[in-house]
């Protein structure tokens, strides 16, 4: 797919890389082009190296590739970091007048485009606008009308006043004009525009938007990368819908607050990442035993311990499946695209209330903090249905009273789901405890009651298996001998890898699985294939273990744990090697 453009801006943290990149991404989206972004960033406020990368095409893009066409380099290191991705003819825009950039060497086969960014920015009203000058220069190189930046600049700087917006527009034009008039760089690209008007959002935002649409009215969290975006998205938005966000003193408090709000009757959610999941595991069992509906978003990052907080990994699958002492019934949903984050979030809230159970909703870093374009109708608010499950009040309470008029809050029903009476409901006051209890919520150690309650809670999962549609999505050639399975955000790269493999004459069937527990039974699909390959971003192959367990079949593992997501071309190579049985461990760059 060479009709795409790969663009990046890189510099030090604190250089405004992220917001500049986002202005360009927004402008492309406004111009009716699809956009897929990615970030190289570190857990630091200043210094180091950070980059915002944009891949754009008229057709849908849902992955990154190992190629850069235009690079705005604010530091020398930005060039070094991207040497592998730069190609013959790639354009590197930099400010040669900047003291730290005077000795920069541009590889011979590439085009170094010196633009006096700071100088021109000062001409427009201030050196602070040098990034926008660079954007204007990049527009000229890409043959993309600089006017499309205008609205994105309003979005970014509108709050600071019209003068600031006007200055930035001027800065962009100065950058464009400089390239046009003062250099002999002619564009080798042409960015076609369309009449489409897309929305651009990341996974955390899709989760936040869906939570509001799904009736979530309470969110408790503690700041942690990369989950904080959910909290920040909801703050300032959820209030208009009758909800509130609270910042707790730690993750222990965050999950317990969400639990408290849920018990009082609000749809509630907490969100965190690995280290927070460790703390929340304590209360996870209480949520399940007290049969409280709760959604816990886990935006995965590289672990264990503090690990690599700003890097990609899908390493928490086992923690979510098995975390917490004892045996805890739960659901684990793992959307595979940014768009699907919306759908699974809505579903998570309904599952939580229908089955009165904790639901893990997990996104990985790559999906959570990078943006993608969608047609706005992809997010159909009116189609969102809210199912609160067996909440009882009024006369319905009477059906669930025992002979002494005591409310049977944990009645061992056929489907395992008990009536739920919210505090304040007349005639239904009852006990709830994290101890084993009888149907009235009275603590007990009686063997038969224990067995009945364990079975009842577990039965909810079985009921859900029967009633819900925990399915996969299939791509590629349904008759292929090679079956590839993956979960989480690898779907986009894998779909593009299918196209690359197809060009090489390799037929592959690809199943993307958004439900980890309960999950679809893949026995037939696995046994029908000659080679089964499981793709995931962790070292041990946690999802592969599950597939082997479920299907009693050995699978090939394509894993990656460098902290960087799979790229489409890389994944195609890996799949090809795995089919040939020649997969090597990842190369370590020194």
């Amino acid at each position: 797919m060479e009709n795409d453009l790969n663009w990046a801006i890189g510099g030090e943290a604190g250089d405004g890389i992220d917001s500049t990149g986002k202005i360009f991404a927004r402008a492309l989206s406004r111009a009716g082009r699809h956009v897929f972004t990615s970030k190289d960033f570190a857990s630091r406020i200043r210094g180091g190296y950070t980059a915002y990368k944009v891949r754009t095409a008229v057709d849908r893009v849902e992955s990154v590739v190992d190629r850069l066409d235009i690079l705005i380099a604010l530091t020398e290191r930005t060039i070094d970091e991207n040497l592998d991705e730069l190609r013959t003819g790639s354009v590197i825009i930099y400010d040669g007048e900047q003291t730290t950039m005077q000795d920069v060497e541009i590889p011979e086969d590439m085009i170094g485009l010196e633009v006096p960014l700071t100088d021109l920015a000062e001409g427009a009203g201030g050196a602070i606008m040098r990034n926008v000058v660079a954007l204007g220069a990049a527009c000229e190189v890409a043959d993309f009308p600089v006017e499309y930046l205008d609205e994105a600049l309003v979005k970014r700087f509108g709050e600071k006043g019209e003068a600031i917006v006007a200055n930035n527009r001027e800065a962009a034009r100065l950058g464009r004009d400089y390239v046009h008039e003062e250099t002999d760089c002619t564009s080798q690209f042409s960015l076609e525009t369309t009449d489409e008007d897309y929305v651009l959002l990341n996974g955390d935002e899709a989760i936040g938007m869906a939570a509001i649409a799904a009736g979530c009215r309470f969110y408790a969290g503690y700041p942690i990368t990369p989950a904080t975006d959910i909290m920040e998205y909801l703050t300032g938005r959820i209030e208009a819908f009758g909800g509130a966000v609270v910042q707790a003193e730690d993750e222990l408090s965050a999950i317990n607050m969400a639990l408290g709000a849920a018990r009082a009757g609000a749809r509630a959610m907490t969100g965190t990442s690995g280290p927070g999941i460790d703390l929340m595991s304590e209360t996870f069992g209480l949520v399940a035993t007290s049969e409280t509906p709760l959604v816990i978003a886990n935006v995965m990052r590289s672990g264990p311990s503090t690990g690599m907080p700003t890097k990609q990994e899908q390493g928490d699958l086992n923690a979510m499946l098995y975390g917490g002492h004892g045996e805890i019934p739960r659901f684990v949903l793992a959307p595979t695209t940014i768009g699907e984050c919306f759908d699974r979030t809505v579903e998570a809230f309904n599952l939580a209330e229908k089955y009165q159970i904790p639901v893990y909703l997990t996104a990985d870093l790559s999906m959570a903090v990078t943006e993608q374009t969608y047609p706005p109708e992809r997010f159909d608010m009116d189609a969102v249905e809210i199912d609160r499950g067996k909440v009882v009040e009024g006369d319905a309470v009477d059906e669930w009273l025992d002979e002494k008029d005591r409310f049977r809050a944990h009645a061992a029903t056929e489907d395992g789901v008990s009536p739920r009476a919210l505090p304040g409901t007349p005639e239904a006051a009852h006990m709830t405890t994290g101890l084993e209890h009888d149907e009235l919520g009275r603590r007990t150690e009686e063997e038969d009651v224990r067995v009945e309650q364990v079975q009842k809670r577990q039965r909810k999962v079985e009921t859900a298996r029967e009633r819900e549609d925990f399915d996969y999505r299939a791509f590629g050639d349904s008759d292929a001998e090679t079956l590839v399975l993956s979960w989480g955000s690898n779907e986009g790269a894998m779909r593009e890898a299918l196209e690359i493999l197809d060009e090489r004459g390799i037929d592959v069937r690809f199943l993307s699985v958004p439900y980890i527990y309960p999950r679809p039974d893949l026995t037939e699909e696995v046994q029908a294939a000659k080679t089964v390959i499981v793709v995931e971003c962790n070292a041990t192959g946690q999802f592969a273990d599950l597939i082997e367990h479920d299907t009693l079949t050995r699978v090939e593992r394509v894993t990656k744990y460098t902290g960087v997501r799979f790229m489409a071309d890389e994944l195609a190579e890996e799949i090809e090697s795995a089919i040939a049985g020649q997969r090597a461990p990842p190369e370590v760059k020194r």
Partner: protein, 311 residues
């Protein structure tokens, strides 16, 4: 019918309504101070004018946290140290509920200490009763955060090397707007203080001295006690932070010298609660967060404006 309709019923309430159908007899040891908390709470509730269905009691883990097994209400017996975040969020979601959290000194000042500090700091409109018996009772007599320095136990055979927590001072410093201490041996004062604490608009912290006749015989039964408000010996202004702080320091020190001083130590009627603060900045809606869930006719508000942000 709205479930909120249980709330605001106006009628006489009999303390016996608070005796539950499922476990009317408490299983605490004979002579345990915990019985007095239960009795005082049952007496306080009719004063406050709340029915059991309007009350949510959230407890942690320990002998004292069994309180809501013997007290009719919506009871939530949670896990060790975590009663406060559960309780305060329930109050945020449905402010019409009367929310009372309770637990022991290990639960509240040890494992849950951080939540105590932050719940007090946020001044949620709720009551927190800490059953303080200076010992871990349910696990059979280990040193607790309020055990005196030098206290010997199986886990501290040569005596505790730590100064005990000063619970009243901690509550004040953290931001509680009502701080009192009462004792199991003083039932009338206890019922009065609990009623006051529940009616107080803000975070009310009651350190309730509850003797443990089984595992902490050293602490005796907290007799004789003195009510500082009744005694001529003490003269301080409960609304004055500095005077309250000095008084608390004295009270806490005296306890370990064998003198039991009880009463109200700090009352701030003016400090806005967390909800009020958040409502003032527009970060907390006026309507209860949970209300939508009680009103079947209410329409779920959806807005495509959310998408506008992403264009």
């Amino acid at each position: 019918m709205s479930a909120f309709s249980a709330i605001d019923e106006d009628r006489e309430i009999d303390p016996e309504e608070y005796t539950p159908g499922i476990e009317p007899q408490a299983t605490w040891c004979p002579g345990c101070g915990d019985f007095s908390v239960l009795k005082a709470l049952k007496q306080a509730m009719p004063e406050v004018g709340r029915t059991p269905e309007e009350v949510l009691t959230v407890t942690g883990i320990g002998c004292s946290s069994k309180l809501n097994s013997y007290f009719e209400s919506y009871g939530f017996h949670s896990i060790h140290g975590r009663s406060l975040p559960i309780a305060r969020a329930a109050k945020l979601a449905n402010p019409d509920l009367e929310v009372i959290a309770a637990g022991g000194d290990g639960d509240g000042y040890g494992i849950g200490g951080n939540h105590f500090i932050h719940t007090a700091r946020e001044n949620h409109d709720m009551t927190y009763i800490v059953f303080n018996n200076e010992i871990f009772g349910l696990t059979k007599g280990q040193t607790s955060p309020t055990s005196p320095k030098g206290h010997k136990s199986k886990t501290q055979p040569h005596g505790s090397a730590k100064d005990p927590i000063r619970p009243l001072s901690l509550g004040l410093t953290a931001g509680a707007s009502y701080v009192a201490r009462t004792a199991a041996t003083n039932p009338n004062q206890a019922a009065e203080i609990l009623a006051e604490a529940i009616e107080h608009d803000g975070f009310a912290h009651v350190d309730f001295l509850t003797q443990c006749p089984t595992w902490n015989k050293d602490a005796k039964s907290y007799v004789p006690y003195t009510d500082v408000q009744e005694s001529d010996e003490f003269d301080f202004d409960v609304t004055d932070r500095k005077e309250a702080a000095e008084m608390m320091y004295e009270v806490e020190s005296k306890l370990y010298e064998g003198e039991v001083l009880t009463g109200r130590f700090y009352v701030d009627e003016d400090r806005p609660s967390y909800t009020e603060e958040k409502q003032a900045t527009g970060e907390m809606p006026e309507e209860p967060l949970a209300e939508k869930y009680f009103d079947e006719d209410s329409e779920w508000k959806r807005s495509y404006d959310l998408l506008e942000h992403h264009t």
